[in-house]
């Protein structure tokens, strides 16, 4: 009985958050082989801790934080071993929006991370500042610079009025 509950819990967590975790791993590591390994390791950590949360939003923010920390550790480790094998170009080739994705992945790590959390996950700059433990003003600056870089590729007007 307990085993079934545990297995259901694992399945639910993976179904619900694997896409977000995978995207973040790709964004950080820029290598889909490493990202796939990282996803498995992150979920082991998540299940191991499995804290209780008052809301799904809170839970998701925690999972994002765990993923980011894990990816940072991988990057730190890789720095000492060898340069990261960036195999992203071949990975994005199959996508319809490959130009946009490639230009996002060409951004510095902090910028592309903020772009993902803001545009895809829908977090406000204040929420991102809590997650990344940076000042709100810093997040806004990163976002603005990222948008300026992306504007050349993507074009179009800004959709954000409050920035």
């Amino acid at each position: 009985m307990l085993q079934d509950v545990k297995e259901n819990f694992i399945q639910t967590v993976i179904d619900e958050y694997s896409n977000a975790v995978y995207k973040l791993c790709i964004i950080y590591l820029k290598n889909y082989h490493d990202a796939e390994d990282a996803v498995q390791e992150v979920f082991i950590k998540i299940i191991e801790k499995a804290p209780s949360f008052s809301s799904d939003g809170h839970k998701k923010a925690w999972i994002i934080k765990v993923t980011i920390n894990h990816c940072k550790n991988i990057l730190k480790r890789k720095k000492h071993e060898t340069m990261l094998d960036d195999n992203l170009a071949s990975y994005v080739e199959k996508f319809d929006n490959k130009e946009i994705l490639q230009s996002i992945f060409d951004l510095p790590l902090n910028y592309r991370n903020v772009v993902y959390l803001y545009y895809y996950e829908g977090y406000s700059t204040k929420e991102i500042s809590y997650i990344l433990k940076k000042r709100d003003a810093t997040i806004r600056t990163w976002l603005k610079r990222a948008r300026d870089s992306l504007k050349e590729v993507i074009g179009g007007a800004y959709d954000e009025k409050n920035l």
Partner: protein
């Protein structure tokens, strides 16, 4: 711009194969204990459970302070199976607390749970309405049952703990 970026990110999807691989990796890891297969194992597990229950009752009876909020930290750190010191679990007079999450700063805690309250009967630190033990600040979290949740400040980080009576890590 927003929609284009959203659509681009939306194309990145985790494969079903990776999801299954992840699932089986977790399932086969030590984290997921195997089902009890025979009566002997059942007997051993039951004995451990009863022992833990008795131990819990004994410790609660022995150490419970007359006032719920009164007490001191018995052990700041919990030594996990790997022999590493961690903040996963602490023992506070009258109960065991399991680590829930790290709170990024005091403002967030204030927003989400309510203003932290001092633990009454504890010695006060002049700068903060907290009890101070072993260099840590311990707060009772307001708006929850007495001592159900506590917050501990360690090196400018706030850690939330939830009360448990279980010593096996099963919640």
């Amino acid at each position: 711009m927003m929609k284009k970026i959203y659509d681009a990110f939306d194309e990145i999807k985790v494969s079903e194969e990776l999801k299954m691989k992840t699932y089986y990796k977790i399932k086969n890891s030590k984290l997921c204990s195997k089902p009890v297969k025979n009566k002997y194992r059942m007997f051993v597990y039951s004995s451990v459970a009863v022992f833990c229950l008795v131990l819990t009752i004994f410790i609660k009876g022995d150490f419970s302070a007359p006032h719920g909020n009164d007490g001191e930290v018995m052990d700041m750190f919990f030594i996990n199976e790997a022999g590493e010191e961690s903040l996963d679990r602490i023992v506070y007079r009258g109960g065991t607390y399991i680590f829930i999450e790290e709170v990024f700063d005091k403002n967030i805690l204030d927003e989400k749970i309510g203003v932290m309250d001092q633990i009454s009967g504890a010695s006060l630190n002049s700068e903060s309405n907290s009890a101070k033990y072993y260099g840590s600040y311990i707060y009772k979290v307001k708006n929850v049952d007495s001592l159900e949740k506590i917050a501990i400040m360690l090196e400018d980080k706030i850690f939330l703990f939830e009360k448990t009576v279980d010593y096996n890590g099963i919640r």
